[in-house]
Symmetry: C2
Subunit: 350 residues, 2 copies
Amino acid sequence: MNLKIAVLPGDGIGPEVILQAKKALYAIGEVYNHEFVFEEALMGAVAIDKTGNPLPEQTLNLCLNTDAVLLGAIGDPKYDNNPNAKVRPEQGLLKLRKELGLFANIRPIKPYKALIESSPLKREIIEGADFTIFRELTGGAYFGTKTLNEEGTHASDLCEYSEEEITRIAHLAFQSAQKRRKKLTMVDKANVLETSRLWRKVVQKVSEEYSDVKLDFLFVDNAAMQLILNPKQFDVILTENLFGDILSDEASVITGSIGLLPSVSLGEKNALFEPIHGSYPQAKGKNIANPIASILAAALLLEHFGLTKEAHVIYKAVEKAIEYKVVTVDLKPDSKFGTNEVGEFVSNFI
Amino acid sequence: MNLKIAVLPGDGIGPEVILQAKKALYAIGEVYNHEFVFEEALMGAVAIDKTGNPLPEQTLNLCLNTDAVLLGAIGDPKYDNNPNAKVRPEQGLLKLRKELGLFANIRPIKPYKALIESSPLKREIIEGADFTIFRELTGGAYFGTKTLNEEGTHASDLCEYSEEEITRIAHLAFQSAQKRRKKLTMVDKANVLETSRLWRKVVQKVSEEYSDVKLDFLFVDNAAMQLILNPKQFDVILTENLFGDILSDEASVITGSIGLLPSVSLGEKNALFEPIHGSYPQAKGKNIANPIASILAAALLLEHFGLTKEAHVIYKAVEKAIEYKVVTVDLKPDSKFGTNEVGEFVSNFI
Ligand SMILES: CC(C)[C@H](C(=O)O)[C@@H](O)C(=O)O
Ligand SMILES: CC(C)[C@H](C(=O)O)[C@@H](O)C(=O)O
């Protein structure tokens, strides 16, 4: 297979972890005779520094014309703590999601056997947990009109949703549930928000086409609690953009480290693969960042194009790395291994 | 001391748990020579059933003219799953918060020694955790304009904040931090939301008056993760309405049961005390609901009026109940004790 992949290393630890993902893909390409052509481009704070624009035209065009996008991470504290910054790295990511129409962000959560002890949660709580979060990614308060009055004393964010936006991701989530344990939990705040009530109504309607899937509803406050009290109750979780952002980071604790979790963002025509962790600027250049989430993002990419066998080789390699404790310090505080060594282990295993 | 207390038992388990809180207050009144006069009123689904209005005029007037409000819980599934309901129990609670100007909801989180094992989190994670969440309660998406178009296919919720709304709760949070470990963590989503950027700016400004308090910032997705990974890092958490709703329910897992956590909501003139749990309709009338959160809400009420010694007797009684395992099934699955027995134990201890 020939695949053209746009690579956006981004900020902070992005470049280092993406390098390891590329190494894994190269190794797969050699062994299984695929040609993966990588084209790198700028996005995030690094793009602002070089071009003034967090998502340069050139980057966007590249992403629109490749088979897939592989993203590192974006974000830089120099923007976070400056409420007056006019341009921010995150705008690049949000614009990319919007322009590529990546309406569904999918995050699988499942603890590794060898890592059960690294979780802050007790073994009996997490052993056997296995669920996937479907987060709507191009709507809600992320993209609604924002205002700040001239005096800078009053601000607003508008959260909007349409039936169409809810319907399309609901179908994906129900289809996924059909292939899994046939349970879908819709998370919202329908006792307060109008958009949540629309979500409930539309998801209820879509559910009629999936009578084999059991649908239930949870308020987001309760869901944030249930994820920790009893994560095994979940199969597929469906929710809007901001709730999905919060709940999926929270759910990462089940696996022991956010450094292990990849995600895929899907649109009608495009797909983007990334680790769910952020740019972790404090770790930049120190060879301590966990590359596994990025390597697994590469595996999700392979699966997306039907290269299931190849993806499974990567999963296996990652499992072995974890089993042999070839892991970074987030998983083993006294580890001698760094970003590079973990990446080497995985690509050598392939 | 003479106190006139408006009691709103509300829905579901509200009436049963509030009864136990009243028993504790009666006992305190007898032993320490205070006169607590309770006046009950309708709110929530029960008020809709009887009057059509989730917050009848009479209830509101009573609450405006008492020293304090003691609330059980509100909410009923028959409204939750009906996206078309025009009147909802929650409207009563939101209106009450607004009319009483209860802008700050304060939720202390601290595990009981005897219950460390009931938490889904490991002992070493939670032992020593001790923090307080300050949640803004009368602004944000809860109270902004809501729209639904005529076809019922497009909905919106507006999240708004003004400098003034942020300033007043920020002062309370900083003052609390000064009396504690002098650390304040502001939780927001300033990399995406305009309102969050306003929060950051205003809180930074207020912090200049509290130079002995260390201020830091966390994005809400990261905060949802950090609460579980390392809750001991927190002292005072300050956040907006919806984030506070999510994070404080999530944080309840640290204590082992949401049935243990009270909260106080403060305004310029009024104060409302309630358990943070909901109406838990499945448990209604079964004598299994945990009354401790409500009893502790009563203790917070005493503290609020300077009756510190009396409040501490209740804390002590609750600790003893937990130590002797006179607790409900949420804390001990094979417990023989119910709502009533736990309440009896506490008031007898006084
Ligand atoms: C960087 C930020 C804008 C982003 C988001 O909130 O969507 C990130 O947290 C994520 O989850 O991908
Ligand atoms: C019942 C509901 C409207 C309420 C809220 O979201 O504020 C509750 O969850 C709470 O936290 O007090």
